[in-house]
């Protein structure tokens, strides 16, 4: 008897085993996304956009049309695509740098315009691919290559509260949530709702996924989970922040 790996059907088997580091959270987030796509039966409608950084390793991850964009530009590329062809289900995938630093203006604009796309942002508190520099989500006191003595919130600010910001500015119809790879069922549920929200044409859908980076955190397996569940949970609250209400017709 052979044991089948529990891979989502929409995953591209040819590109497995994938290139992410052992212990990386990306594999888990992409699994949740893959399961959601399978359950909704939309594999042939999804177009997946990935950013620069570790998210770019997902460029051949799915049996789904994929475009690797420039750093921070996944939201506008997927937005443009969706505007030109609304049959596409556009998924913009990015890291904390791509979403909250260089891509922040595009995230804000996509939110305020209520773009009918689904943005998924992976938060691991630093810039992984380029060697572990500080990110907007780096926590106070956290040592990175550009905060070698620990992040000083006084001079460099506090960790970006992305879903909170999007929830505050997006019009009615938006869906905003923050999940965590420590709770896969919940994360998959959020991602599924974020896709359904796009399919219903309601508004901008955004899910931040708290994730892992043992390579740059320099942590073993046990300490990696500890960092997520004890440290990150202090600054980043898991839950749904915006769920669209029943749609009301204008003027009524």
């Amino acid at each position: 008897m052979t044991v089948q790996p529990a891979m989502p059907k929409c995953w591209n088997v040819e590109s497995k085993p994938h290139k992410f580091c052992p212990g990386c959270g990306h594999g888990l987030v992409l699994k949740a996304l893959g399961q959601a796509i399978d359950e909704l039966g939309i594999q042939d409608k999804v177009v997946f956009g990935c950013d620069i950084g570790c998210s770019l390793l997902s460029w051949d991850f799915f049996n789904v049309d994929t475009i690797q964009t420039h750093h921070g530009r996944t939201n506008p590329v997927i937005t443009g695509m969706k505007r030109a062809n609304s049959d596409i289900i556009g998924v913009a995938y990015m890291g904390d740098g791509g979403g909250y630093a260089i891509g922040s203006q595009h995230l804000v604009s996509a939110a305020t315009r209520n773009e009918r796309i689904t943005a998924i942002l992976v938060n691991n508190t630093q810039y992984g691919m380029t060697g572990g520099q500080m990110a907007p989500t780096t926590m106070p006191g956290q040592k990175t290559e550009t905060s070698p003595y620990g992040r000083d919130a006084e001079t460099t600010g506090s960790p970006t509260q992305g879903p909170e910001m999007v929830a505050a500015i997006a019009p009615e119809g938006a869906y905003v949530a923050r999940g965590s790879v420590a709770n896969m069922k919940q994360l998959k549920g959020y991602i599924k709702k974020a896709l359904e929200n796009q399919m219903a044409g309601n508004g901008f859908s955004f899910v931040e996924a708290l994730s892992l980076c043992p390579t740059n955190w320099r942590t073993n397996a046990r300490d990696t989970w500890k960092f997520l569940e004890e440290e990150m949970y202090k600054y980043f609250k898991v839950g749904e922040l915006r769920v669209p209400g029943p749609r009301e017709k204008e003027g009524q």
Binding site: M134, P136, T146, Y149
Partner: protein, 362 residues
């Protein structure tokens, strides 16, 4: 009073990115603004590690647009400010650099070229020559130094602050990913001990006194209502640039007087060309070596002289004719045959140059 980062002089063994950080410290640079992009990250890594000791500052911005504009801000405040970038980051930088060009602001930008276009490779190229010399929506009123050794990375990073503040044009140190990561020995020195006086900075805004009462207010702009206004301003800038160009332009050359073929290259590729030309001469070929050190302004007089006497010019670069284009503009009218050795994004060895010359010579 924080101590001097380099006292006296000392021979050290470092990577190119580290050289830039140390040179900026030695030059008295007060603040660096930057955003992570390979292959220049170690400039920031080392700057952030060393600045608490020497009382300097740093800001990691949200992207390169911001890194460029914050550098503009730093310079307006009268500080020696600089930034560093590469590839797609350099593309973004062109907007703030245009503002610096338009307003004669002495920003200093270090570029470590990587493969292009778009994300391409993080490793190496000479494909940002056009972008760095003539990028943005202006007339290329900039100074660009193309370095070939770590000693030059050190010397010219210091020099770029002085050139920028003396002539008030944006100044660039154009390196590449190989220089950034390569390890070499060089001499670190305190500029003061070598008789190099750092050109003093001055604030454009925020000076003491009540504006309108104690002193005139500073009103700066980069927009004009009428075409004629813009034309006048640019004529003034172009005249300043033309006057400064012969003082700023630098080059390196040997064996060109009697050469029938001259090899032209810049930056790290010139190391391979230097070796190749020496080897070819030993084998009896009448070849010469020419290397512009400033790509903006080009060393026009010296280059035109070479183009006058040589029959063939071989342009060697890790790009598809970006140096070639600059050379052709300078030597227009020359009857020398222009020949290429173009390898966009790929390193070039001295063996390849020797082979190419022999192939040309038959």
């Amino acid at each position: 009073m924080p101590e001097k980062p380099i006292q006296g002089e000392k021979r050290v063994f470092v990577t190119g990115n580290e050289v830039v950080a140390w040179a900026a410290l030695a030059a008295g640079a007060e603040i660096m603004y930057g955003y992570p992009i390979t292959p220049q990250n170690e400039i920031m890594h080392y700057w952030t590690r060393m600045i608490p000791k020497y009382g300097r500052r740093f800001l990691q911005t949200e992207d390169e647009l911001s890194a460029g504009f914050t550098t503009v801000g730093g310079v307006l405040a009268g500080r020696r400010a600089f930034t560093a970038t590469a590839g797609p980051g350099n593309t973004l930088m062109q907007e703030p650099i245009s503002m610096a060009e338009a307003m004669r602001l002495p920003i200093v930008v270090v570029v470590q070229q990587r493969g292009g276009p778009s994300t391409a490779t993080v490793i190496y190229s000479q494909q940002e020559v056009t972008l760095t010399t003539l990028g943005g929506n202006g007339e290329g009123l900039r100074v660009v130094y193309s370095t070939a050794t770590h000693q030059e990375l050190f010397d010219y990073t210091i020099k770029s602050f002085n050139t920028a503040w003396k002539y008030r044009f944006p100044a660039f140190v154009l390196g590449d990913g190989y220089q950034a990561k390569m390890r070499e020995s060089l001499m670190f020195y305190d500029p003061a001990e070598r008789g190099i006086e750092m050109v003093p900075t001055e604030a454009y805004v925020g000076r003491p006194g009540m504006p309108g009462a104690d002193r005139p207010p500073t009103h700066m702009r980069n927009t004009y209502n009428m075409e004629e206004e813009l034309y006048e301003v640019l004529q003034g800038y172009l005249a300043d640039y033309a006057k400064a160009a012969p003082e700023i332009a630098e080059h390196e050359a040997f064996d060109t007087a009697d050469a029938d073929l001259v090899v032209i290259s810049h930056g790290v590729v010139s190391r391979a060309c230097k070796m190749a030309v020496k080897e070819l001469r030993e084998q009896g070929y009448k070849v010469g070596y020419f290397r512009p050190i400033t790509l903006r302004p080009m060393p026009e007089k010296a280059l035109r002289e070479v183009a006058r006497t040589a029959k063939q010019l071989l342009v060697v670069e890790s790009a598809q004719g970006q140096l070639d284009r600059l050379v052709k503009e300078v030597i227009y009218g020359s009857t020398a045959e222009m020949l290429p050795l173009f390898k966009p994004g790929v390193g070039i060895t001295s063996e390849e140059v020797v082979t190419r010359v022999k192939e040309i010579k038959g």
